[in-house]
């Protein structure tokens, strides 16, 4: 059935958007006060949704009684209509739920529109399937200031990371001018944030396979698709800790930077030339790590990085008691060659770190949406620790 829901107060929308309601197919999105919302509810969820609405005193009417009978629905039309649903503002955007690629890309535009003096959107390239690769730039001016880079979603199935990235973006704009530390960070450095680093993979996790990890590039001579973007960097490329089999989840690709998604970042970092901290975010396992992954040789700045990691993990833990382990990649998680932060570190970006967010395996990649905000909040404290240190230790 398609239900027409009457929301008297727009501010109620985030409350309404429990996981149930937000995962449904909206034919007409929230349009402000007194404008109703049309929702297509699959038969299996009908009773639950109606009970939810009734118990919360929300009026609704049945717009279309039986979709199968109605000639309205065909695949394309549904796609087109749900395409048009977009949150009206960054204030009504639901940070406590998982979003599609379109919704996140809409969010980027909303954020820029609401904060034009602070945020801009840069396209650093295109994915294999032609999707734009967008990076948010947070800057209060200057000319090529020293910068901090954060990326989420390089492995598409790690949904908590893209969701946290969205939250971080909002947090930055909310904190500038209010939080003294973040304000001083942005008064001295720029922040670059790439939220959907692997959009092809991300789209695939929504449509076909929730557990997809790699890019979606075609491998010549193989029926298997995709390259592990975290084995494709030019640091120990092709060595132990990656696979040469295109069917493997850790396939390193035919050569370093073969993946457009990786090449775009490499080109950006090289041409920027002034990035001082680089943080690449994954899930799961609750770890904070620094180089190296491809070799047992300790990084030259090992002690300093270890101290920073220790402080960052303590800050993270202070909020909800979430316990993280920390150390170099190879001693903490496993040997991995061709990894992102090994390359960035070897480029001279001293403060190179990688996170594995919640949890430690009970839900794994399928972390419940009700943990998004707490995960993002605690991770933010660790990020702030790293960013403050970067600000205070120019090099």
């Amino acid at each position: 059935q398609v239900l027409r829901i009457f929301v008297a107060d727009e501010a109620m929308w985030p409350l309404l958007c429990s996981y149930t309601l937000c995962q449904l197919d909206f034919w007409r999105g929230p349009g402000g006060q007194d404008v109703p919302i049309d929702v297509r509810v699959p038969f299996a969820s009908l009773q639950a949704v109606k009970i939810f609405l009734e118990s919360n005193g929300i009026c609704y009417s049945i717009l279309i009684d039986d979709l199968q009978v109605s000639a309205l629905v065909d695949e394309e039309q549904t796609q087109m209509i749900s395409h048009h649903f977009m949150p009206r503002s960054v204030e009504t955007f639901n940070y406590a739920s998982y979003h599609t690629l379109d919704e996140i890309y809409d969010f980027l535009d909303l954020l820029v529109a609401a904060n034009p003096d602070l945020v801009s959107k840069i396209q650093i390239g295109n994915s294999y399937e032609g999707r734009p690769l967008y990076v948010l730039k947070f800057s209060t001016g200057g000319a090529k200031r020293p910068a901090i880079w954060i990326d989420t979603g390089i492995h598409s199935r790690e949904w908590i990371t893209q969701a946290s990235g969205v939250w971080f973006a909002k947090k930055i704009v909310d904190s500038y001018g209010k939080d003294p530390s973040l304000t001083s960070i942005l008064d001295n450095l720029d922040i670059f944030l790439e939220i959907v680093t692997n959009p092809d993979g991300f789209a695939f996790t929504h449509t076909k396979n929730r557990m997809w990890r790699k890019t979606r590039s075609i491998n010549s001579g193989s029926a298997c698709i995709g390259v592990d973007p975290n084995r494709n960097w030019d640091a120990g490329f092709g060595g132990a800790g990656a696979s040469s089999n295109p069917c493997s989840e850790t396939y390193h690709g035919p050569y370093a930077n073969s993946e457009l998604e990786v090449k775009a970042i490499v080109d950006f970092v090289k041409s920027h030339g002034n990035i001082k901290a680089f943080i690449s975010i994954h899930s799961y396992s609750q770890l904070l790590m620094y180089p190296y992954g491809y070799t047992r040789t300790q990084a030259a700045d090992y002690q300093e990085l270890d101290n920073i990691a220790k402080a960052a993990v303590a800050a993270l833990s202070s909020l909800y008691g979430t316990r993280y382990r920390y150390g170099s990649i190879i001693t903490t998680i496993y040997q991995a060659s061709g990894g992102t932060i090994d390359w960035t570190y070897n480029q001279g970006i001293k403060y190179s770190f990688t996170f594995e967010l919640r949890d430690t395996g009970s839900y794994g990649f399928l972390l419940p949406a009700n943990q998004i905000i707490s995960t993002a909040e605690e991770t933010w404290l660790a990020l702030m620790t790293i960013m403050e240190y970067t600000r205070d230790h120019p090099y």
């Binding site: 995962q23 998982y98 850790t250």
Partner: protein
């Protein structure tokens, strides 16, 4: 095709490698002694011990996950294998609340397929309550006239339908047996999702489920599909039967040391005496 030729080569490679380096893989042969508590091998061994515990307890309300490793040492037993001595805290599988500490030994054997585990734990949850919770799960499932079926548990958004929670918990317990058997010193597992569950209504007093589960394998990052049959009667050992489908061959020895591609069969298990 690639897979077939590698499967022919696989056993040959293993034969060549075995005498040269135990545990040929990303890790060099280990020096005996104390391990850093943050080391992945310590965590891996602790998890193996917990798989064994979760399977042996066979209690969906008492499933545990790894908290923190407090102490870890490893000893090489020549001709036999590597033995880990561990002390670690544990958390409730769902709530992450601390539920006690364990002492365990995990012996990775060269010749036998699965690690030998000895584990003793304190339990801070009310055991009577746990038994009651198990029994109410059991009663609910026994009262089904229509068999429970389900897909994608948790779903993409991490949600588990309350009615399917007992089935999910039993899948974790049953998968624990499977994950214990498959674990090696370098290869570890998590149960990522129940792809499919179907209940068989039985004439006796047991609960009988057929599952398709997806395991997440570390460090290969592969998602392995396994069929799992779990038969549960509270207070009795779980009966588990499984069959895993291998989608991608395990590639070079540098990654998936000592693992052959193909399927693994585990038949109805008996009492384990492996200390």
């Amino acid at each position: 095709m690639q897979r077939r030729s590698a499967a022919r080569l696989g056993p040959l490679l293993l034969l060549l490698l075995l005498p040269v380096a135990w545990g040929a893989g990303p890790e060099p042969p280990r020096a005996d002694g104390e391990l850093q508590v943050s080391s992945r091998l310590a965590g891996q061994a602790a998890r193996v011990a917990l798989h064994y515990l979760n399977y042996r307890l066979g209690s969906p309300s008492a499933l545990r996950a790894l908290g923190q490793v407090r102490k870890a040492t490893v000893k090489t037993i020549p001709g036999i294998g590597h033995k880990y001595y561990l002390q670690f805290t544990t958390e409730d599988y769902k709530s992450s609340q601390n539920v006690g500490t364990c002492l365990a030994t995990v012996l990775y054997l060269k010749r036998k397929p699965r690690p030998a585990v000895n584990i003793n734990c304190t339990y801070t949850k009310d055991q009577k309550q746990t038994r009651e919770d198990d029994y109410s799960f059991y009663k609910k499932l026994r009262q089904q006239t229509k068999p429970i079926t389900g897909n994608d548990i948790p779903d993409s958004y991490g949600h588990i339908e309350p009615a399917l929670e007992p089935a999910w918990a039993l899948a974790v317990a049953g998968s624990s047996y499977l994950m214990w058997e498959k674990s090696t010193e370098n290869l570890g597992y998590f149960m990522a999702q129940v792809k499919n569950v179907k209940q068989w209504i039985t004439k006796d007093d047991s609960i009988d489920f057929d599952y398709l589960v997806i395991l997440h394998e570390i460090p290969t990052q592969e998602m392995i599909s396994c069929h799992l049959r779990v038969i549960w009667t509270p207070g009795h050992p779980l009966k588990v039967k499984y069959f895993c489908l291998s989608e991608n061959q395990q590639s070079e020895s540098e990654e998936g040391s000592g693992t052959e591609s193909g399927s693994t069969n585990g038949i109805f298990n008996e009492e384990e005496a492996n200390f």
